[in-house]
Every structure is written in C-alpha cells, then in structure tokens.
C-alpha cells in the first residue's frame, strides 16, 4: 500500500488508545479526539504524525499550549469552563476527591487564571497561565 499519496486509511479510537505510550494516560481519549479530523478519534497517518510531533520534546511551547488547550476543552466550545475543569480533575485524581474539594479546586483555578472575568478560560488566559508554568514542557511530552 502506498502511503505517500494520501490514502484514505483511518484507525479507530479504540485501537490508538491501547498504544503502550497512551495506555495509562487519563486524557488519552481527548488527545486522540483533538488530533482527529472528524473529532471522533478516527485518525489518519498524517494526524498520527501530527499528534506525536506536537507531543515530542522539540515542539515549541506555543504549539504545545494550543493543543493542550484543545485537549482540556472537553466540550469543544473553545473555552475551558468549570465543567471541563471538573472533568479534568476527576480524571486526574480518579474521583478520589470529595465534591466540595473538586468545587474548591476548580473555582480556585478559574480565579487564578481568568483574566477577563467571564468565569471560564479562553485561549489567551490559558496560554498566559501555562507559559509561566515551569514543568509544562517536561510533562506534556511523549517519547515514541
């Protein structure tokens, strides 16, 4: 099969998330979805390369920030709202925090990063916050 002339081969989500590099990642579904063209997780080879290129060590911070924003935006409305944050937190802690604690953390996070006061994070808020994080580059990285 000649892959150079853009054949129309897509792999389903369920196959990709079982890769050893992604298997343990709590955000694997969102990662694959955000790199797929149809938003459902069926990715072609080009998208696959794209995904690992962004997640590689040498990708620049701005590019990673853009895609990180896409990944954490669960309802794909171009904002990280409180529900998105709650889902992120629950995935991170495997739902071991009490609802009050979840609420407190999400509110604090929004309070910290929200610049324009609309109670959700737009891309500029997110980028402003993540560009100062010291270990963003080292954690948002998959070696393949």
């Amino acid at each position: 099969m000649d892959y150079t002339n853009n054949p129309d081969v897509k792999l389903p989500l369920a196959l990709i998330i079982n890769m050893p590099e992604l298997k343990e990642n709590p955000f694997r579904n969102r990662i694959v979805e955000s790199f797929s063209e149809d938003g459902l997780g069926n990715i072609s080879f080009n998208d696959f390369v794209d995904m690992f290129s962004v997640l590689s060590e040498t990708a620049p911070r701005e590019l990673k920030a853009i895609y990180a924003f896409k990944i954490y935006d669960f309802n794909t409305d171009n904002f990280i709202c409180k529900e998105d944050l709650e889902k992120t937190l629950n995935k991170l802690t495997r739902e071991e925090l009490t609802p009050e604690e979840v609420n407190l953390v999400c509110e604090k996070a929004i309070e910290e990063a929200d610049m324009d006061g609309d109670n959700k994070l737009c891309f500029t808020d997110f980028e402003n916050m993540i560009s100062r994080a010291p270990d963003f580059l080292s954690t948002f990285h998959i070696r393949i």
Binding site: K23, T93, E101, A113, R132, F140
Partner: protein
C-alpha cells in the same frame, strides 16, 4: 532581470525558506502543511538556481546531521546519569504514598549517603590504604600489638564488641598509625596526610552543605510567582505524559491526589479564624513546660556523667553492663522519650503543621545539643586524666631505658649499645587518649544504631502487627482509636540523622574506621526504613508541603558542622599528642607536622612566604576586609529583594485593574478612588455618557466576544468623561494581553451607529456613545 526584481525575488525566497523552517510549529492539519511545504520547496528550488545560490547544501546537511548526533549523545548521557542515581524508584514510591514531607527525609538520607561515601573515599584512600599496604604490619611495633596482659581475652566477642582487643589495635583507630615521616617506595607522608585529611573532610563537608543550601534557595526563590497559579498549574501540568506503566500510573494518581489535598489544606489554613488570647496563653504555657523538660534532661545527663567518672575509678570487673554503659544508655533513652513528649505538649500550641514541625525540630535540636556537649565535657575530663597518667608512664619508660643502657655498658664495657629488644607485646604502654576517644565515639554510634533499629522494630513493626491481629479479638477498634498505626516521625528521624553526622565528624579524626561504619549504617538504614515505612506506617492525617524545610535541615547541618569542628580543632591546636601511639607521636603539638613539612619538603622561599602570611598584621586586615564584603553583599541582596517586591506589586496591581475594568466594577485601588474624588465633576456629558453606555453594554458584549483585545467600553465604567482619558493611559500600559491586532480603528467605526466621540478619546474603542 532588473535589480529591483532580483531583490524582490530574493526576499520572497527568504520568506519561503523561513516558512519551511517554521512550518512544523504551525497548528495546521498535516495535509495543509504538506501542500504548503511542497509549494514553498518548489518555489525555492526554481528561483534559487536563478539567483546563483544553492551551493554548500552538502556541507549544511552534514552540519545538521552532526548537530543531531550531538543532541542525541547528550540526551543519552543525561539518561545514563539519571539511571545511576540510586533508590530513585524507592523514593518515588514512598513519595506517592506519603507525600513530599516524608520523602524529603529519604532524599536527605540519600544525600548524606553520598557525602559520607566521598568522605570515606578520602579517609580510606589517603590514610588507611597507605598505612596498611606500605606501613609496618601488625605485631612489629608496640603500638600495633595487643599488650601481653590483654592477649588472653583479645578475641572474645564481648571484648571485640566493646572495641577492645584486636579491634583497638587495628587500623580502625588512631593509635595504630605509625609516625614515620615517609613510608614506602613513594615516600608517602602519612602523618601529613592524616592531618590534612582530617581537616579536609571538614572543608569538603562545609563546601557541599553550603552549595546545596545555595541551590535550594535558588529554586525556592520564586515564592510569590509560584503562588500565582498553584491550582491551575497543578491541574494542567501535574500529569506526566511519559508514564506507561500501570503501577507508576497508580502511584502518580495517588501522588496527584495527595498534592491536591495538600494545597487544599494550605488554602483552608489561610482562611481560618483565630482566638488570639487563648492561643497566646497556651503557647506560653507549652514553652514553659518544654523548657522545664529540657532543663531536666540536661541535669540528668550531668548527674550520670559525674557518676560515670566515679565508676571509672573503680575496677572494671565489679561493674555491671548497665553501669559501664550508663551514659550512652541514658542519652539514647532521652533521645527516645523527649521528642514524643515535646510533640504532645506542642498540641497545645495549634500551629500550622509546617510551623509546628519547625518548632519541634528546634526543640529536639536543643535537646540533642545539650546531650552532645555534656558528653563532650565528660570525654574531656577523661582525656585530661589520661594525659596525667601518660606523664607518669613516659617517665617510667625513659627511666627503664636509662637503666638498660647503664646495665648494658656496665656488663659489656663497651660504648656501642644495642637497643633493647623486647617483644612488642611486652613493652610498657602509655594510655593513648586519642584511641580512647575514638572508641567512645564508636560505641556511641553503635548504640545509636541499635536504638534506632530497635525503635523501628518495636515501635512501628510490632505495634502494627499487634494492631492488625489483636483487632479481631479486642473490645475497641484498635486501628481507629488508640494505638492505631504509627505515623512516620519526620522530625525525630531527620534530627537523629543530623546528630549522627555530627558525631561522625567529631570522631572521624580519632577513629578513621568510623566513616566506614557510618556508610554501612546509612546504606542499611535506607533499605530498612523504606521497608518499614511502606509496611507499618500510615500517611499523616494532615498533609502539608515540606518544600522550604530543605534549607532548614541544611541550616541545622551547617550549625552542627561548626559545632563539631570546634572540639577537633581545639585538640589539634592545644592538646599534646600521645608519646607512643598515632601518627603524631613524639611531637609537641599535632600541627607540628605541617611546620616540619614546610621546613623539609618545600623550597625555602615558601617557608618565608608562610611566615609572612601568618603574621597577625596581615591576617587582621584580611578578616576585616571579609567582614566588609559580607556587609556589602548583604545590603545589595536586600536592595534586590526590595526591587523584586515592588515589581511584583506593580504587576499584581495592573492585573487587578484590568480585571476590575473588564467586570465594570469600580476600581478597588484606594489611591485611584481618592484621586477620582479629587477631580472636578463633569456633569452633562458624564450623565448622558452614563446612560448611553449602560444601554450599549449588552450590544458591545456580544460584538466583542471574539476579540479579547479590548474594544470594550470598559473604561466608561467610572462614568465620567475625564476619567476615560486617564483610563486610556492605563490601558495602554498593559502588556499582558496578547495583542493580536494593532490598535483598532477609532471606536466609532467598530460599533454600530456610533457617532459621538468623547473629546480626547483615542486608541482602543474609547468613547462609545452611539445614540444620538
């Protein structure tokens, strides 16, 4: 082609080249990128030839390949270095289950192990090995042989365990080393090396501790910045995408949950209310109680030491084991009982856990310090007693020698006197106080090790077993109430480690084998305590970060280093070495070795140089200069800190202003409010401006959503015409928003139906008063 066209073409080619190099960084879909790349490459190929360039492509490719190989090599080397760090997985496991404070103890332990390993390398390589390989063997001279009257019991286990018998006369202790100026083929100067290694280990330890302190303070330097986005960063950057192992993932989940809980506790602590007076009273009471117990422990040690001095004068065989080891026993007991006592008393104080830990550490520090120095005074008394005995024995030996010579010359009538040939075991020996001191320190260390391990075994392990298995047949729930499982005692363990190190530093000069013993101890401690913590302990109920405590531990370590250096330096400078044992025997003072070396081994001018350098007239100005330098650096660093704080405050103020303006609230800055009050009111325009802006608010909200660069009429929140102008200047200064477009067209054109402009309004969307 004309010149203009050439330059234009060149520019375009450059642009395309730049596009090719940055193509990877664009967030486009792969297909689009590939198309773009193909176009750009074709363009460059077509026109580069026309411009006469295109050479050196091979060289460029070669350079690129070499750079890639170099980067890969560096990365592999870094990976290798990281893989060499021992116990990384163990510590990570402990960290993910117990939080960063418990793990900080193990990190500290590992660091100590590294430092002790280096010290051991020095001592072993430069002192022990030369003496063992190139010096005289056991049994050849008196100092290396067990005396005749001790030989019967020399191999007994009990004697060996007390470091008597063969142990005492081995390379483990000071007394074994010979005072020959040079030994072996290489003319290795052992006495000099002994002295330098002794002093050098202090120097090395000092350097390492200070370097680590500096590194820690650098890392923690961004305190305020760190506080800005705590929760947001935790949420978005805590998961490590590299994790592929399910166990690691479990650990990571546990550690993230713990970390969130830590931050939540921190947050809540900041919001608690206080009842000040009751708290103050309780704190004073608690401090009084603790002072009393410290005083009590000091007196107890003094009493026991005095008793041991009377025991020392009695015959050894009449004393029981308890009486012989009373001092060490009491010291260990105090070290065991007092810390929990302090902790219970400290519950009266109700401090934040991190601060309570610091207080606890401080108190235990005071306790151990008192213990250590009382022990030292006891030793000094013993040393003085030995020195006195030595005088008598020395006189006796000289007398015996004189007698032998006179007898010899009488009997044989010749002046050629052969030296007395006695079996080394039979020679009369001096008491050798240095070895005695070394033995004391060894015994103290061993008893310390025993106490630690036994405490863990009984206090933690057996307790856990009892709680687990007796729970089935006990009336109340052992796991939830008393005694339940033990929590890991961080402060006690850390201080134990620090004081142990202090004792090692003090004793290493007199017992070179002590450092080796310590290395073994730290190694086994690591494995034993990791196992114990994972098996028998539960995580603390209140979890908190220990981030800044690292420098606190290092500070304590530095203090102990100085305090343990003092006795050693004092003895080197003041006390005379024993006349018949050790590398300095026969000299007046120990540092005479250096003077001897300078005289004999170094060229003459260096000797005169040193005499000049040791002149007080030179040293005092040097000391003054250093004091001045310290003062100057201190004030410079204070100035920097001040400037930092000012900048931070400014940034925070701007951020708040932006936020408030967006929310159309009044400025919360009191200064701004006061200034506004001072300005003259402008009634007519401002009134209508207020009405109109209130009306257009919803419209502009909708219209402005996609462009966050402010085109909003936020400034009119204050509702006064003149203020718009001032707010303009404020808005101009804000650098934080990603300005994705140049200052837009004047406000009027951006909004529907806008005609009226407030005088002086420029720039971003000022003066939105559309209605007429």
């Amino acid at each position: 082609m004309s010149e203009g066209e050439m330059t234009r073409l060149k520019e375009e080619v450059e642009e395309k080249k730049k596009l090719i190099s940055t193509l990877r960084n664009k967030p486009w879909r792969m297909r689009r990128r590939l198309e773009c790349l193909k176009d750009a490459q074709q363009f460059v190929e077509k026109f580069e030839g026309a411009l006469g360039k295109g050479k050196g492509r091979k060289l460029y490719a070669f350079k690129v390949m070499m750079t890639k190989k170099w980067i890969k090599f560096n990365r592999d080397f870094e990976n290798f270095k990281t893989a060499c760090i021992p116990w990384e997985r163990k510590i990570k496991e402990v960290e993910s289950h117990f939080g960063s404070s418990v793990a900080s103890y193990f990190l500290f332990l590992r660091w100590m192990y590294g430092m002790n390993l280096v010290l051991f390398g020095f001592v072993f390589g430069l002192v022990v090995i030369p003496e063992v390989l190139m010096g005289l063997p056991y049994g050849s001279i008196p100092r290396k042989t067990v005396p005749r009257d001790e030989q019967a019991k020399a191999m007994d286990f009990s004697v060996l365990f007390e470091f008597g018998g063969y142990c005492k006369y081995s390379f483990l202790f000071y007394g074994y080393y010979n005072n020959q100026r040079t030994i072996g083929l290489l003319q290795f100067r052992l006495p000099l090396s002994y002295l330098l290694v002794g002093v050098g280990s202090f120097g090395y330890s000092l350097m390492v501790v200070i370097r680590t302190m500096a590194k820690n303070s650098n890392e923690g330097g961004d305190g305020a910045e760190e506080g800005d986005f705590t929760f947001a960063w935790k949420m978005f950057t805590s998961w490590d995408y590299l994790i592929g192992n399910s166990e690691t993932a479990d650990n990571k989940f546990a550690s993230i949950t713990t970390s969130f809980k830590e931050s939540i506790v921190d947050e809540q602590e900041n919001q608690k209310d206080e009842n000040i007076h009751l708290r103050r009273f309780l704190r004073v009471l608690a401090n009084l109680l603790i002072l009393c117990s410290l005083g009590g422990s000091g007196y107890l040690i003094y009493y026991v030491v005095k008793r041991s001095q009377t025991y020392a004068n009695m015959d050894e065989d009449e004393l029981s084991w308890f009486e012989k080891n009373e001092v060490e026993f009491v010291m260990s007991l105090l070290g065991l009982v007092c810390p929990p006592l302090f902790e219970t008393i400290a519950e009266l104080e109700e401090y934040h856990p991190r601060i309570a830990l610091k207080w606890q550490l401080g108190r235990i520090f005071a306790l151990f310090l008192g213990n250590l120095y009382t022990f030292l005074f006891a030793l000094f008394d013993e040393v003085n007693a030995k020195l006195e005995r030595e005088e008598t024995i020395k006189n006796a030996t000289i007398w015996a020698m004189k007698e032998h010579y006179s007898n010899f010359s009488e009997l044989n009538n010749s002046t050629a006197i052969t030296p007395l040939s006695i079996n080394p075991a039979d020679v009369m020996r001096g008491p050798c106080w240095e070895t005695a001191v070394g033995i004391e320190f060894m015994k103290l260390t061993v008893s310390d090790i025993q106490v630690t391990y036994l405490t863990i075994l009984f206090g933690d392990f057996l307790r856990a077993l009892a709680v687990r298995f007796l729970n089935y047949c006990w009336c109340w729930d052992l796991e939830a109430g008393f005694p339940s499982y033990a929590e890991f005692d961080i402060s006690g363990n850390v201080l134990g480690l620090i004081f142990n190190q202090g004792m090692i530093w003090m004793g290493a000069f007199y017992a070179p084998g002590l450092v080796g013993l310590n290395v073994l101890r730290l190694l086994t401690s690591m494995y034993f305590q990791c196992w114990a913590v994972m098996t028998c302990n539960v995580p603390h109920e209140r979890v908190f970060k220990a981030s800044k405590s690292n420098n606190f531990y290092m500070g304590l370590l530095l203090l102990i280093l100085f305090l343990s250096m003092l006795p050693v330096v004092y003895t080197i400078m003041t006390l005379p070495p024993s006349f018949d044992c050790g590398p300095f025997s026969g000299k007046q003072k120990m540092y005479d070795v250096i003077i001897e070396t300078i005289d004999k081994d170094l060229p003459a001018f260096l000797g005169t140089l040193f005499t000049y350098a040791a002149n007080p007239g030179l040293i005092i100005p040097a000391v003054l200069l250093m004091v001045l330098a310290i003062y100057y650096l201190n004030s410079v660093s204070k100035a920097y800190k001040h400037a930092n704080n000012e900048l931070r405050k400014k940034m925070q103020m701007q951020r708040d202003e932006e936020k408030n303006r967006r929310n159309n609230k009044d400025s919360t800055n009191q200064v701004m409010k006061d200034l506004e009050d001072l300005l003259p009111k402008k009634s007519p325009i401002s009134a209508s401006a207020k009405e109109n802006t209130a009306n257009i608010q919803p419209l502009s909200e909708l219209g402005d959503k996609p462009s966050k660069v402010s085109q909003k009429p936020g400034a009119v929140a204050t509702g006064r015409g003149v203020n718009l102008q001032r707010d303009v200047s404020l808005a101009m200064a804000n650098p934080r928003m990603a300005v994705t477009r140049p200052p837009g067209p004047r406000g009027p054109s951006a909004l529907p139906g806008n005609t009226l402009q407030v005088p002086g309004g420029r720039g971003r969307g000022r003066g939105q008063n559309p209605r007429r």
